[in-house]
Symmetry: C2
Subunit: 339 residues, 2 copies
DNA sequence: TTGAAAGCGCTAACAG
DNA sequence: CTGTTAGCGCTTTCAA
């Protein structure tokens, strides 16, 4: 594993060619102090002639700044991820930072190697997606004063880390209002997500308070496992139908479980939305192509990424950043009975 | 923009605590020379007590190795992207490298800042996705001896850069064979992709040679613009129908244009596959949810990412890597008339 | 098997 | 406005 040969110009060569000191070259390139126009011109000339590009590592070592943001994700697979990254990239690049990506896989595999990657070394700060990092690491990051912003996850109380969140509860209220006020539903079932998932928790709370606000009773028999999975919700929905439980509408905690529910209804020989209305949450790219197209809540994922990176940069630069709630949008399509 | 305080242990502190020299600590941590078991133990102890994590930039500066791979993408938005990144990440991490991501946006915006990001500084090598980098930069990378692997793009002849490609032509042959041999089609239309896109070019070549191999004539009236877009192909397909052109089946150069074609057929009051059969290419996540589910070719995207990163690492370590062709798989569903 | 010491290429005081 | 110089934290000869 021999080191690559470096056929590359250094700051000294640029300085020599321009007839100035390395400090001046540095000043010109970083715009960190006023330099005479003529000197500056000569430096740029030398830079371009030599094809000079500063060495990032040397810079980082000397300045204690990497100009790089880290993004930690639980696993890089779901459809959620592409828009998120687009947003993060946009915010990151607009501010002149680079982006280092690290997927943590399952939590079990977080080890020392994991620290190496992001431990205050390769990055000036970390953007951490929900469920990708254990609290113990968050504490460690705090200890070494590594700026951190949480994405779609609330901070552990004791740490008070700024985060970007969706207005889940508000979104659910919009959905339930729509079911109740527009379609006159009364028996609205809920397919909940994983118990540990915060989004799911908020959505369940929203479901309960929304029903209450309409004076509807909460029937625990109408709350079942969806687990953010097509299959799990298929099972639950099929069981409900088999049990002959009366249901006007189903609110699935995410679009994947909505898909499962729709499939179960159809497979049972019933019709969506004729017999049972269905709504989801997330607005996956697939959702508008379903049959019928799924009414759901669109969460501005790309925006979350961008806002998160902007917050992180602010945190790095000023030490301040405020937790942000992003509004969600009701996408009315046909699975709820509209149109 | 003041530098962060670093409440962090350095190699000197570890050395002091373990009662050895910094060189020895380095040797233990890098496993770069034999060290007595006892000494080694003491070093690890000190490392763990001090919570020591090596400083990546210092390491890079001293060793001229960053342990980081760069990935360049044209834009981070399509559905293609998530599995690709998953694969790249897997290959990268398995070898102990980090991953730096950079989307180049449209080619116009490639400038000096762009060089800064990847110019042989932050990364030991580059994985470059099709259409994200101009040839001039490829030349420059060659000049500074930065290892590069191309993803889904053939190298400019003069540079001879190793690349990962799909067996596009073979895939097309499978599709056309299926149309001709299984469904007895004779008038098969083709919706081509963007002219500059290499995948599209290969697919068109495949279309032509496949027809020929079955002794079918190539009717240029049956070749139209799909542009890898839903709308463009909708237009073309609608026009064909309006013109009363006789068509048994449509081969769309990608799934998006297949979607457009299916919509056009349906909107014209015709049936897929009853009146016109449709097949696509790519197997997007959406495709199996379409109505009817789309018969298409699945390209192993994640595998391409993983293979690419493995090749790049081999290139970095040994200086060698061979261009790889990845096989594709025919996904038979209902839009071709099967089942 | 270990230590001493010379850089890696750059930034940031400090001086002038 | 510009130059000198001392590191940043680590790896890697060279000696021992």
């Amino acid at each position: 594993m021999q080191p690559r040969q470096t056929a590359r110009a250094t700051i000294d060569q640029v300085a020599a060619r321009a007839g100035v000191s390395t400090a001046t070259v540095s000043r010109v390139l970083n715009n960190s102090a006023t330099v005479s126009a003529e000197t500056s011109r000569r430096v740029f000339e030398a830079v371009s002639e030599l094809n000079y590009v500063p060495h990032a590592a040397a810079r980082a070592l000397a300045s204690n700044r990497t100009n790089t943001l880290g993004l930690m994700l639980p696993n890089i697979s779901n459809e959620f991820f592409s828009p998120l990254l687009r947003g993060v990239e946009a915010g990151t690049r607009a501010a002149g930072y680079d982006l280092l990506i690290h997927s943590t896989g399952d939590r079990q595999s977080q080890d020392v190697g994991f620290r190496r990657v992001f431990g205050d070394h390769n990055t000036d700060g970390l953007l951490i997606f929900a469920n990708s990092v254990d609290e113990q690491y968050l504490k460690w990051f705090r200890q070494i004063r590594l700026p951190v912003v949480l994405l779609l996850e609330l901070s552990p109380e004791t740490l008070d880390i700024p985060s970007v969140l969706f207005e889940n509860k508000d979104g659910v209220h919009q959905l339930i209002d729509h079911f109740v006020l527009v379609h006159g539903c009364r028996r609205i079932a809920f397919l909940r997500g994983p118990e540990t998932n915060q989004d799911s928790q908020w959505r369940e709370k929203g479901y309960r308070t929304a029903l209450e606000s309409h004076g509807l009773p909460i029937d625990e028999a109408l709350i079942g496992v969806g687990n953010f999975e097509e299959n799990a919700s298929y099972q639950t929905m099929s069981q409900w139908i088999a049990d002959g439980i009366e249901i006007d509408a189903v609110f699935a905690a995410d679009d994947e479980s909505a898909i499962g529910a729709m499939r179960a209804i159809t497979d049972a020989g019933l019709n969506v939305p004729g017999d049972i209305r269905v709504i989801g949450f997330d607005d996956l790219p697939i959702s508008r192509h379903l049959n019928p197209p799924l009414t759901t809540i669109r969460a501005p994922i790309a925006e979350a990424g961008q806002t998160g990176s902007e917050m992180l940069i602010s945190l790095i630069r000023t030490g301040k950043a405020e937790t942000t709630l992003l509004p969600v949008e009701l996408m009315i399509r046909r699975s709820c009975g509209c149109e």
